[in-house]
């Protein structure tokens, strides 16, 4: 067995091994190096896997040499490898960015614990992407969620505890729903391997337990991905978590739930069941639209920037689900592309805000007045990312909205085009509030002396900001991978 053949499992095992090593070292510098190395390895392995899958098709790996469907199968296909690259890349970037921010926000004695939990969270998120086993996916989902609760609770004031507890309750309800759904599927098909469930699905299609499983999984995963109106945990969690955690979660956690939803909808249940037997097409469409408008409207009235962009995340999740509800290759392409584009945009925004929090002591609108004068680079980065959130041509956000509009037109739902544009106008308003505070006000007297964030933070954040522009112009990687993954999911030959 060569190393390359072991990559599907190593991508999750190496971060898993890094967690206890970081705990044993009890030294924040060494723990940082270990976890950073593990994230870097995971990113390298993900890129290799992506190339391998693009070249020679899906990779299957039998844990413990028990052949599927009896053993646990790890399966990397176009969709999985795309998410692997996204999650591991963001992890490596956020880690390398976050040291200065961490020093300021978390007591030094807890740093090695932070790195341990970060490695565990990464293990969970990557494991979800590689696993082809329903229960294994649930276990990884819990690994990532449980470590996330603790990471959020590490926030600097006591409100972080309340936010974390809130997320704990909501997340546990979601996990319960997911495991009930998986249990019902196991009841009806007698197997946990996703491909095997799919193969046995025709025999039980449309039966009540299977439809119940579909409903349970939909609600559980919607909770985890903060789909409106199940998003209540998200704004507080993002606002009060340490900056590093906000950046990482905003870029990965909810996105991975979308991945699981795609897997279950299009590979396990199949479109005919999801969209014909249950009216999920209409349900998802309504929730997506409600999220796009309600959450964006709420975002306009926030004064804390982290909270503002957290609500914006809920709104953006609406676009992601809107693409899914079209049930077409173009729609799914839009969903997958927007997962990526929104991840890098929001990741960049929260990283920049982390820099602001470090230099100016907070990210409320009155405090960041005159940001452009004291931190010109950060302010410029925020503007670029804001344009991407709105969907201005030349930024990543435009690409996803372009495909959304295209999918709406293909489906003959031209009125949706107006709604997409309309909700983008709401984004213009909340982004403008940030721009106005940053560029058209003088800095507060006590903050005139604030300086630009340190270079160690500016460079990774700047890379991501550049990424939002790059992926707005050059779409071979994003749209190419997404379109292929979408056509595989829908079973349409290209």
């Amino acid at each position: 067995m060569t190393l390359v053949q072991q990559l599907p499992v190593l991508v999750a095992v190496v971060p898993l091994a890094a967690a206890p090593v970081a705990l044993l070292l009890r030294n924040r510098h060494l723990a940082f190096l270990v976890v950073l190395a593990a994230s870097g390895f995971a990113f390298g392995a993900s890129v290799l896997l992506w190339q391998q899958v693009a070249g020679s098709g899906p990779v299957s790996y039998a844990i413990g040499s028990w052949p599927p469907p009896w053993g646990i199968e790890y399966r990397v296909d176009r969709l999985a490898s795309f998410f692997l690259v996204l999650v591991s890349g963001m992890a490596a970037l956020v880690l390398s960015w976050g040291r200065a921010s961490l020093e300021a926000e978390i007591p030094a004695g807890q740093h090695y614990l932070f790195y341990t939990l970060f490695a565990l969270c990464l293990t969970g998120l990557l494991g979800i992407a590689v696993s082809g086993d329903a229960f294994n996916i649930f276990v990884f989902l819990e690994i990532s969620s449980l470590s996330t609760y603790v990471l959020i609770a590490m926030g600097r004031d006591r409100r972080a505890l309340a936010a974390s507890y809130n997320y704990l309750i909501m997340g546990t309800i979601g996990a319960t729903f997911i495991v009930i759904g998986i249990g019902l599927l196991y009841l009806m098909t007698g197997t946990l391997n996703l491909a095997d469930i799919a193969a046995r699905m025709p025999a039980v299609e449309g039966s009540r337990p299977v439809l119940a499983a579909l409903a349970f999984l939909t609600v559980g995963l919607s909770l985890k991905m903060a789909l409106f109106p199940l998003h209540q945990w998200l704004p507080n969690a993002y606002t009060h978590a340490p900056s590093v955690v906000s950046s990482f979660l905003a870029a990965t956690a909810t996105k991975v739930s979308v991945y699981v939803l795609l897997r279950f909808y299009f590979e396990v249940f199949g479109e005919s069941q999801v969209f014909d037997r249950l009216p999920l097409e209409q349900v998802m469409l309504c929730l997506a639209l409600a999220g796009m408008f309600a959450a964006s409207a709420v975002a306009i009235f926030q004064t804390d920037l982290k909270r503002l962009f957290a609500y914006s995340s809920v709104g953006q999740m609406g676009y992601i689900i809107l693409g899914l509800s079209f049930d077409s290759v173009t729609g799914l392409t839009a969903t997958i592309v927007h997962v990526f584009n929104h991840a890098i945009t929001k990741g960049a925004i929260f990283m920049l805000l982390g820099g602001v929090a470090l230099s100016m002591g907070g990210v409320t609108l009155p405090r960041v007045q005159g940001l452009a004068r004291v931190m010109p680079l950060t302010a410029f980065g925020l503007v670029v990312c804001g344009l991407s959130l709105i969907g201005v041509p030349g930024t990543a956000g435009f690409v996803s909205k372009w495909y959304l509009v295209k999918a709406a037109l293909e489906g003959g739902q031209w009125w949706l085009v107006f709604l997409v544009v309309g909700s983008s106008l709401l984004a213009v308003i909340y982004v403008w509030r940030v721009v106005e505070a940053a560029y058209f006000h003088a800095p507060r007297a006590d903050l005139v002396a604030a300086v630009e964030a340190p270079l160690s933070m500016l460079v990774p954040a700047g890379l991501l900001v550049a990424g939002t522009v790059y992926f707005g112009l050059e779409t071979t990687f994003t749209v190419g991978s997404a379109a292929e993954a979408a056509s595989v999911l829908l079973g349409v030959p290209r």
Partner: protein
């Protein structure tokens, strides 16, 4: 509760057997009910019993907190090591078939080592949780 003579005597008498029973549950897990998780809980329960009778400080002296944290990590590491050993010996992750010349013996060896890892990690986590709750005070008053 350290003033209660009956408890002290019974505790001193029972705790070694509780710990021994934990090990029995661990090593007998292949043949009967039991396994790493149950063994870990029993081992931790023995220590917690000790802490309840002789005070938490006393228990912290016997099983110090750094040791507990190390156990959590070592347990997971043992599991990962067994998994990776399967890869190094030419199989897949968690491949027990290659751990011994005979595949069945390999399976027995692999699962026992993994269960040992589970037992160590579970004992560590249980004690850590107990110490954290007990550390909030008024248990000893």
């Amino acid at each position: 509760m350290k003033d209660d003579l009956v408890l002290r005597v019974v505790g001193k008498l029972l705790i070694p057997f509780i710990l021994l029973f934990g090990l029995y549950v661990l090593f007998h897990g292949d043949y009967g009910p039991g396994g790493g998780f149950q063994a870990g809980v029993i081992l931790a329960a023995g220590i917690i019993f000790y802490a309840l009778i002789y005070s938490v400080e006393e228990a912290r002296r016997v099983v110090p907190e750094p040791l507990v944290e190390a156990m959590m990590a070592v347990g997971v590491l043992l599991y990962v090591t067994v998994g990776v050993a399967g890869q190094v010996l030419g199989g897949n992750f968690l491949d027990y078939f290659v751990l011994a010349a005979d595949p069945v013996a390999g399976q027995l060896r692999g699962i026992l080592l993994v269960e040992c890892g589970v037992a160590v990690a579970v004992t560590g986590v249980m004690l850590k949780v107990f110490y954290m709750f007990a550390g909030r005070g008024n248990l000893d008053q």
